[in-house]
């Protein structure tokens, strides 16, 4: 067996070890390379920045724990920005398995920023139906969520004063790991009830949302951990996303090097087999 063949059949545990080290070492010894801000992330930031105080900001945390590493930092950064701007924040989820995590993130950031439930923000929790929930909220928020997650009647909450349905929302952002998510918010929400919509998503689904971004159906997109790191840079609050970027950088480069190596070995093997074939002829 040639060297190239042996390298192509390398034990996968060696690859696992390389990836493990490439993830671990930058986390232990961060370099902190500068992060360039993309236009799609800046658009979300600029829109929130342009909102006057007391504007209504809806954040839908449409993900489950599997996507926590990418979307949790996005949620924290957006909530910090919204609370800093003194916006009235409505938080909810369309994913039942994300309810506890959404509660935890909003409670943590609200506590950190000195905001009280029912006054500075409200966490509505989850309701079944996905698209139907959005349509229902567009018709009447209070029939969809008669109480918040903690059981308080939503009708009496100071944070929702003057808010009857989605038409009264100034800006909505869906942080999505799949469906229902950004597309559902556009189809059932923005298209009919005419509020501005932004998106955040995992790196895997980001390419699928670019048509919505390019056509203006969403005004901005925070994609994956990179997007979260960009947002953290914009609000000048370093968090887990910036810390994780070094690890992601090294892992990406490691995968590229592995793929290139595999192709060099593959092409050298192919060349060798072609030469053998010609020699036989």
């Amino acid at each position: 067996m040639s060297f190239a063949e042996r390298m192509l059949k390398i034990d996968r545990r060696i690859i696992f070890l390389i990836i493990g080290l490439c993830t671990l070492l930058p986390l232990l010894y961060p370099v902190g390379l500068p992060i360039k801000i993309s236009q799609e992330v800046r658009s979300v930031y600029d829109y929130i920045e342009s909102l006057p105080e007391e504007s209504v900001f809806l954040l839908s945390l449409d993900f489950d724990p599997a996507s926590k590493p990418e979307l949790h930092p996005q949620a924290i950064a957006l909530l910090r920005h919204a609370f800093r701007k003194n916006l009235r924040v409505i938080v909810m989820t369309l994913w039942v398995s994300g309810t506890g995590m959404a509660d935890q993130v909003v409670s943590q950031v609200a506590h950190e920023m000195g905001k009280a439930s029912g006054e500075g923000y409200v966490f509505l929790g989850w309701s079944p139906g996905a698209g139907s929930v959005i349509i229902n909220m567009g018709q009447d928020l209070y029939t969809t969520f008669p109480t918040d997650y903690y059981g308080k009647p939503t009708k009496n909450l100071a944070v929702l004063k003057g808010v009857q349905n989605l038409r009264d929302v100034n800006y909505a952002v869906s942080l999505a790991a799949g469906n229902p998510g950004v597309e559902a918010w556009y189809l059932y929400g923005k298209d009919k009830y005419k509020f501005e919509l932004g998106g955040g998503c995992t790196g895997v689904i980001a390419p699928g949302l670019y048509p919505l971004l390019r056509s203006g159906q969403i005004n901005g997109l925070i994609g994956g951990l990179r997007g979260a790191a960009e947002y953290e840079s914009l609000i000048n609050q370093k968090g887990r996303a910036i810390a994780g970027m070094d690890a992601q950088s090294v892992t990406h480069v490691a995968i590229i090097v592995l793929v290139m190596m595999c192709n060099v070995f593959y092409l050298s093997m192919r060349k060798a087999s072609q030469q053998q074939g010609q020699a036989r002829l």
Binding site: F16, T23, P65, Y150, G151, T251, V259, M260, Y266
Partner: protein
């Protein structure tokens, strides 16, 4: 009976399909009220679907356990896990003195349900997703080869996007950021849009076929 099984569902589909296709374009309060009522029904039906899903899951695994099929032990684990979670989620918390009602926290104190969620479900799902990175790296090494011209184009595009999406890549190849943005914004977006338009036209055509009773597979088989 045939009328109830066949004609009646087709009639309901035809009438509701046409009404709600038209409803979108009618902003009259009565039309909006109709939408509110029907979406409320949908939400309620969605809730029932959850119950149906759970009961179906129980049934499938009960059969596995009864027949002692391969891996029936996992079904027992599922039963035990589900039973404990349901009891913890719907039961009464003696510590907190109230019904848990599916809450992870009550007045800042973590419930047993919350403990299961935070210390079992969250790390388990996170681990499953994290493992993917290792398998993707291994799979990329084994199969991402320039076997043809098309595969070579895909390979080059993937390398540029991967480099352009991380600070180290942009540091090593300063142009990769802009080129990857161009790939995502122009090439990727246009192809995706073409696919979306095709799919949407297909959905419109299928909806018409369902509304007018040409497509009846949703009615299922069963005896006439």
């Amino acid at each position: 009976m045939i009328f109830l099984r066949r004609q009646m569902p087709l009639l309901i589909t035809l009438v509701t399909g046409l009404i709600f296709a038209a409803q979108y374009y009618v902003p009259h309060p009565a039309s909006e009220q109709l939408l509110t009522s029907v979406t409320k029904w949908l939400q309620i039906i969605g809730g029932f679907a959850l119950v149906l899903g759970v009961s179906s899951l129980f049934h499938v695994h009960a059969v596995k356990i009864r027949r002692k099929e391969a891996g029936w032990g996992y079904s027992v684990v599922l039963y035990v896990g589900m039973f404990i979670t349901i009891v913890a989620g719907l039961g009464y918390s003696f510590n907190l003195g109230q019904w848990v009602s599916g809450k992870e926290q009550i007045n800042g104190a973590m419930t047993t349900f919350g403990w299961i969620y935070s210390y079992m479900m969250v790390p388990l799902q996170g681990t499953m997703f994290a493992i993917l990175a290792f398998f993707i790296a291994s799979a990329a090494y084994r199969s991402f080869r320039a076997r043809s011209r098309e595969a070579a184009v895909l390979l080059v595009a993937a390398v540029i996007v991967m480099m352009g999406r991380v600070p180290l890549g942009e540091y090593v190849l300063p142009l990769s950021g802009d080129v990857s943005q161009w790939i995502l914004n122009v090439l990727n977006a246009s192809v995706r849009r073409a696919i979306l338009i095709g799919v949407s036209l297909g959905v419109v055509a299928l909806s018409f076929k369902i509304i007018f009773g040409l497509e009846r597979s949703y009615l299922g088989g069963g005896k006439e």
